[in-house]
Subunit: 409 residues, 4 copies
Amino acid sequence: MPDTIIKVDLSQSPYDNDMIHNRWHPDIPMVAKVKPGDEFIVETYDWTGGFIKNNNDASDVRDIDLSIVHFLSGPIEVEGAEPGDLLVVDILDVGAFPHNSWGFNGFFSKKNGGGFLTDYFPQAQKSIWDISGMFTSSRHVPGVSFAGLIHPGLIGCLPDARLLEKWNTRENALIAENPTRVPPLANPPFPSTAHMGRLKGDAKAAAAATGARTVPPREHGGNCDIKDLSRGARVYFPVYVKGAGLSMGDLHFSQGDGEITFCGAIEMPGWLHLRANVLKDGMAKYGIKNPIFKPSPIKPNYTDYLIFEGISVDDAGKQYYLDVNVAYQQACLNAIEYLKKFGYSGAQAYAILGTAPVQGHISGVVDIPNSCATLWLPTEIFDFDINPSNAGPTKSVPSGIDVPLAPDL
Amino acid sequence: MPDTIIKVDLSQSPYDNDMIHNRWHPDIPMVAKVKPGDEFIVETYDWTGGFIKNNNDASDVRDIDLSIVHFLSGPIEVEGAEPGDLLVVDILDVGAFPHNSWGFNGFFSKKNGGGFLTDYFPQAQKSIWDISGMFTSSRHVPGVSFAGLIHPGLIGCLPDARLLEKWNTRENALIAENPTRVPPLANPPFPSTAHMGRLKGDAKAAAAATGARTVPPREHGGNCDIKDLSRGARVYFPVYVKGAGLSMGDLHFSQGDGEITFCGAIEMPGWLHLRANVLKDGMAKYGIKNPIFKPSPIKPNYTDYLIFEGISVDDAGKQYYLDVNVAYQQACLNAIEYLKKFGYSGAQAYAILGTAPVQGHISGVVDIPNSCATLWLPTEIFDFDINPSNAGPTKSVPSGIDVPLAPDL
Amino acid sequence: MPDTIIKVDLSQSPYDNDMIHNRWHPDIPMVAKVKPGDEFIVETYDWTGGFIKNNNDASDVRDIDLSIVHFLSGPIEVEGAEPGDLLVVDILDVGAFPHNSWGFNGFFSKKNGGGFLTDYFPQAQKSIWDISGMFTSSRHVPGVSFAGLIHPGLIGCLPDARLLEKWNTRENALIAENPTRVPPLANPPFPSTAHMGRLKGDAKAAAAATGARTVPPREHGGNCDIKDLSRGARVYFPVYVKGAGLSMGDLHFSQGDGEITFCGAIEMPGWLHLRANVLKDGMAKYGIKNPIFKPSPIKPNYTDYLIFEGISVDDAGKQYYLDVNVAYQQACLNAIEYLKKFGYSGAQAYAILGTAPVQGHISGVVDIPNSCATLWLPTEIFDFDINPSNAGPTKSVPSGIDVPLAPDL
Amino acid sequence: MPDTIIKVDLSQSPYDNDMIHNRWHPDIPMVAKVKPGDEFIVETYDWTGGFIKNNNDASDVRDIDLSIVHFLSGPIEVEGAEPGDLLVVDILDVGAFPHNSWGFNGFFSKKNGGGFLTDYFPQAQKSIWDISGMFTSSRHVPGVSFAGLIHPGLIGCLPDARLLEKWNTRENALIAENPTRVPPLANPPFPSTAHMGRLKGDAKAAAAATGARTVPPREHGGNCDIKDLSRGARVYFPVYVKGAGLSMGDLHFSQGDGEITFCGAIEMPGWLHLRANVLKDGMAKYGIKNPIFKPSPIKPNYTDYLIFEGISVDDAGKQYYLDVNVAYQQACLNAIEYLKKFGYSGAQAYAILGTAPVQGHISGVVDIPNSCATLWLPTEIFDFDINPSNAGPTKSVPSGIDVPLAPDL
């Protein structure tokens, strides 16, 4: 049984735990050290640090201050890792805490973050998912249960100063294109809610002033929200600072490709069992810019799918040029319309696409002007038969149950 | 053994075969009729009608007039199908012709169509792939062979007049935004190379004037280039005209998600063994706008992948806002750089991504400002080990072999 | 398109085709020659040489003289192959003849060969299976259809004289234990129906006198009836004679583990597309006694199973000691009883287990005195839901249809 | 988080825990009660109750008194379950104890239990397997690691008096055929080491006198050692007594088909997370004699195999009649010979076949006189390439390491 090198107390604010941070900055001090080949356990908060509760009221999803996310555990120093190396991380296992066997999924209000389909679901909604061993189901979304494809939504190594500068420069340039947009085009550094781990005083203030927000995935990986970077996977991370500085958080019990609901997957606190090794000079040897990984040999094996196509023409009939986002939105909307025929509300269907192991494929990207994207919905996760038949769909979902909504104030 | 209801003679021009057409229009006469439940065979040309040859010279890929594509077999009338129904098509099998067991993959010149990575591969190149039973390999791309995920790149039913009008309106509006762009934003009707099947004289001229080009996927399906819509799949197509009018072509022996090379997949002529049934009033019953389908139970089962991430920041460091196209381009470029370390040229690596059953996943689409896309490269298709190791990559690909290139004139 | 080096005419008796043989003997002359790396096509009869007809009368299954089987195509000489080598055979594809797209499954009378459950199904019965592209279904067994796991039931190289002698010695010793048993313990050489290919006159008579029957699998492979040795597989065969002498036949469109009905799988004539290479001195290098193989990357991917257990206690309650045969029989009988609850006759259920890609696992072999075997029945091959439910089974199979039976005379 | 209804203390003898028993008898009192639909946790000892230690000395495997096994947790009463029902058990998860993350595999001496290949490995040997999250590896068997297919080797409901009587009658009849055989043909009741749970005094003595040993699988399931009855599976157990009386134990971190080494799998203590429901009158509704089950959607997904054939002729050349045991033994021996070419000792190879998720298929059972069995060895579990190549095998396994052996005294 390996050591737990970072612990969290869910009853404590993550701001009071100095092994946690919520910005990326090279000056954040290492909080633990491991040797290559060591196994170790890391505990994490959920991405909001416990803000979202297990109840039937979505007002927490509506009211959250998103500048506080994501609460990450780390950084961890790996002995011998140097800039230019690859950090080889074996995700030996990931799990929920036994005493906290539930997670949440939500849609943010369009005024506070939104989501992939925010124009169709503009208000805050929340569903709670109970975890039963390897499976999950929700009291808010009946008729569906599935095995967890558990993974960290966010994991990566500390940037060095040069990389951080690059991030800030390009993201600020984007923001400058439309600084008052809601939701914003990107999030600039925001010191007032920054948690810089063990940095204190002026050093903290200085780092917080430029510390990168954790929302976007970047060269180092970070908030990739890749559902298949799951327990059993091996990941090769670029190293930018001496000791690597591996941090992680934002655990998901399950998620669909795209994490389309933004709040997003089945979010939970929990633990990771890891092993790290160093592949010397791996970035140059293999021409690596972004992390690469190998999927797990052990993950849910759903093979029967109903596949929905979408093209880059929106609901209003507007034609886009090779826009995969629009195509995938349309595929998702097509799936939602389909599921509604079986009795689901739109919000329930949206929640399923956000949480279940749906696949989103970039199917065609060259046939001007339309991209084609496909949304793969596993049929085996439903308690009833969702395949088309001559008899037409049967209303199989009990009415009177829905995903709680908190109206904008 | 079912009847072959449409035959092609590869030594004859497709323009001389009146069971072929290369535009979408409701007036194109049906050329064959089947009953629900019937099995039947349809032969098709390759998408270019035989323009691309099995040789080591890419000038045909450079010189092709793309207004001639795609040569489709049909339309086929299905008895009893009416607007609003779903046409349930079982793709019972698809194959190459035994006497023509090869296919081609190419990149178009940026001046003539381009492709997903045309800025990196701006000139015409071509690789030839030999088909050995269920497998393929190429004399231009050594060290790789894989099982075919055979599928029609293009299949769908005739639009009615209203749908056709909608297509023309929205695509012309897009073209009008930048009418002189190279490559163009979309392709308008183009009568001079139109093949309208059995339409003749004035009727043909009238239809050709508005007949939609076949390049983009649209509501009816059409040129979706979905690799998993393969032999063994069941597809539910919207029906717009009496008798459905099912047409198809653009067979691919194999393709990666995205068909990124545009010319594109391993292109070949061949045959499809089909069965069609009618699901009455299926569009309304199931809320269907675009086709849906179920994948085949029998397709290549590669499970060990090396997965490349890409984010929506381009090579020049420019930051895009949630742009999956840019993210997938970056993932593809990352994979190409990786493969070059083993001795492949960039063009060879690009050809592999276009032809092999790589997966392209929309991994994260909500983490502003960066989308994250992943490119899944099956490791089992290579003759050598492409996994990272401490020893670093070994040059495993013989030098002196490359994908033929025809310089722009 | 490779050459077809052995052709068969289904309207001709296999005895009149000198590229066919039905015994194993080193003196049978090679009928074709290939070089290492060559691709080639081999056509084969069905195992009975056309004796079983596509009709609703099982009298042919009852009346067949089993001393005529199996009609094999070959032997094929592979240049450079020598005793001690491994012949590496890529099964690039296998298929039915387009003009003969059906196969048969049968149970022999207990008086004429029997089968794995002959005590429960003692009389001759036959079902006909239609082949629709990659799929099959039967007019005698409604409610079930599945993708073909096509394979040669019988393939291997010629034995040398020493190996042949060993076979005859040990099998004759077994027969001697109970020479009058019905069915027999084994089949000795039987010259009167021997087809020795191009051997003629005295040479033929001499070889026929000792030529081994083709029924059992032996060291060289032969009639292994392994369903997964299918199209796309690579097999390593021991070589005993100069030139290897590869022969094959007994094509199956599909079969369950065990080929329990004996007549057996979905039997058909057809063709194989092959490539052979030589691994010099491979038997010693790898310690090979029997063939080894790698499964195909492309085969039916059914993943949802209902699994039946059986233990080595028979119906009468008799306790056997670690007998996997009895355990597997019991698992099969358990599955048959289960399927009868949905309206199948016992014979229909037995035919499904013989033809569909069921798995038979040796689950426990050490827990004295009971072996445990499991029969894995894919649920996805049925048109209706065969899973247990509180509501109990629904009779989903139309009555009035059954597997034709020909009573013993 | 569900209640843990049965706890074990690994530092305590299982004989001192009255929620444990090691015989089957209807009079063993229920120790816990659950309602249909409840989730609950059950802890178990390893099958030997802690007798085998984590060290490099196999004398414990040599010296164990096998009359003490298996230590089972239970019986558990399920409210409302009655004879004739099916108990529907969802195995929601199974795991090792965090503080005890290792397991053992062993071969018994031929004088004390033996194993499937005891004639080839007649003395006691033991390997220790470390558990690292979802994976395992052994200091005694280098070069191999794999994901755990965790499962209870033994699970089932209490027999009623009639069924128990039947077991004793038929097993005693078998023993009577050769009462002095070593190893014995079966194990009769053996009161002196019986642990009858909460039964005390005369009642205990009476039950112990006829309580069935736990080694063999029987109608109720019991010690089936089916590797795929794993976490995520749903099992339907016959119910014989009011309340069902579900007991379980003998957890395995991983096992190959057949559990050929007998001591056997990777044996460990641990916990199960379960949910039970009742399918009323299910035995008659579905014609159930033995348990049936559905496999897990989440289990190791190894797809690349090297497959070894075996036929029912033993090493000495003796011909058996359709004997799957002999065929599977030969397939196992063939695999062992193959692995030895890469540097493994025979014992290491045998340990791999016993612990890794190898498949054992009953491939042909009708081709007199030879059965054909296949042993499927996943290639992906090895650190090096075990596929055949022209270059021949490379010694990839370090020498000087082996599976500890304790010579017979």
